[in-house]
Amino acid sequence: MKSEKVMTLEDYLQQNAQRYPDKVAVIGGNERLTYDQLWQRVQAKADELSVSEAPRCIPFRASQTVGFLITYLAIHLSGRVAVPLEKNIPEGLYQEICDRLSCLSSCMSSCHDDTLNGIADVLFTTGTTGQSKGVMISHRTIIADAENLIAGQGFSHDLTFVVHGPLNHIGSLSKIFPVLLLGATLHILDGLKDAEAFFRVFESQGKYATFFVPANIRFLLSFDAKRFAALADRLDFIESGGAPLAHADMLQLCQLLPHTRLYNTYASTETGIIATYDFNDGECLAGCLGRPMPHSRIAITPEGLISCQGDTLMSGYLGDPELTATVLRDDTVYMSDYGHIDEQGRLHIGGRENDVINVGGFKVAPTEVEDVAMSVPGIKDCICISADHPIMGRALKLLVVMAEDTAFSKRTIARYLADRLEPYKVPMLYEQVDAVARTYNGKLNRKHYQK
């Protein structure tokens, strides 16, 4: 049987280096590389990896720099698998993942396991039990995500996409795909804390787009609404994702940016980029995530949960076929989000089936936080819940019962957790309580704390 070769992102980069050698491909910090320069740098780095006989899976900290992009693409070009990890991940966790990958790679190689064939990335995400899961993303998936975004949101060759979120997360990482496929420009910023740097990007004439998590939008609407509104003519579109955007913020955005397309998107590491809705459509529907994109199909299970099909789905969890089968069966990914599809074929999202808490687009299993918190000296009992937060919308809150004669110090607890967990898993809010609610059989009663 003749197998069709899948075009990879690196094939498109090479093609665009020939078509548009002088077009700016990426800007970040003091660096600005054309397509030709980017391709040269990626090739050189790929050669280094090949000569050094680097392992099959290469974990690295995902800095928000041009260097990240070069490393990421070079790993693919050299035939290896990129494993971008949170840039501030504690060293102990980083090593744990490196050891796990090294062990899995050698097992696969010794028993001629072809699981990693066609795989481009492994992205680590939190499972319901707290154990990190390595989601395998294929080259085919990357291109399907890119084509979905191009068709669904109108990415174009003359666009500059401004990315300022963590590049180990599908929300920001996926924006690289359509940009490079089309020969557009990527502008990488190291976060949004330097608002001046963010606004400086838009000083040059051009057509821009960006991706925000809801907390970014709240920041700009609260503290810089005037300058934000002044970008109206340059912002072609904004995508918001990761977590639900407050309806009041959606309405204010529509008012400030009347001609900008404003998208809410349904996406996850496991499903890829599935559906999108331009809420600047006059209706501005909260909870609506639009119609499925060209490579995707959505259905609702009899239990009311969302299921997805299409080329953007993950290939499975690395080294865990049993866990994969709980989510991915018959070419369908079964999500833990409740939803419904309206008469116009648009997806609307409800709550979640399990205990996982969504913090600004990052999923956190409360048990993982509680397990570590219970080892803090002086903590007798605790529960991690989701609570209102003026900026984040929702944030983690740790309720703790202290042992007698032990002082409650939010600072001590937070620092202890920060040494052992990824930054987004460290609660922002803390409260000392006399007892935590439990069910009749002694389990933590999470429902007691849900609104």
Binding site: K193, F219, S222, F223, A414, A418
Partner: protein
Amino acid sequence: MKEKIRTLLEDALPLVDFDSDFLFSELDSLGITTILMTLSDAFGIQLEAVDATPRNLKSLDSIVAMVEKKVKSE
């Protein structure tokens, strides 16, 4: 005022070392937003993103100076 600001900010951002002289580089965008929001609410002043400069947020002392200036001017 300095101790009041320290207490407020340490409570809102327990992981941040407010004794650092390189405070801005230790903060992320959420930390900056939290500082602006906390101080605006506590002192009835109008802080904006343009106030969140590396100079104004270099240390606790520079934050105190920024708040004092805002309180006087409003």
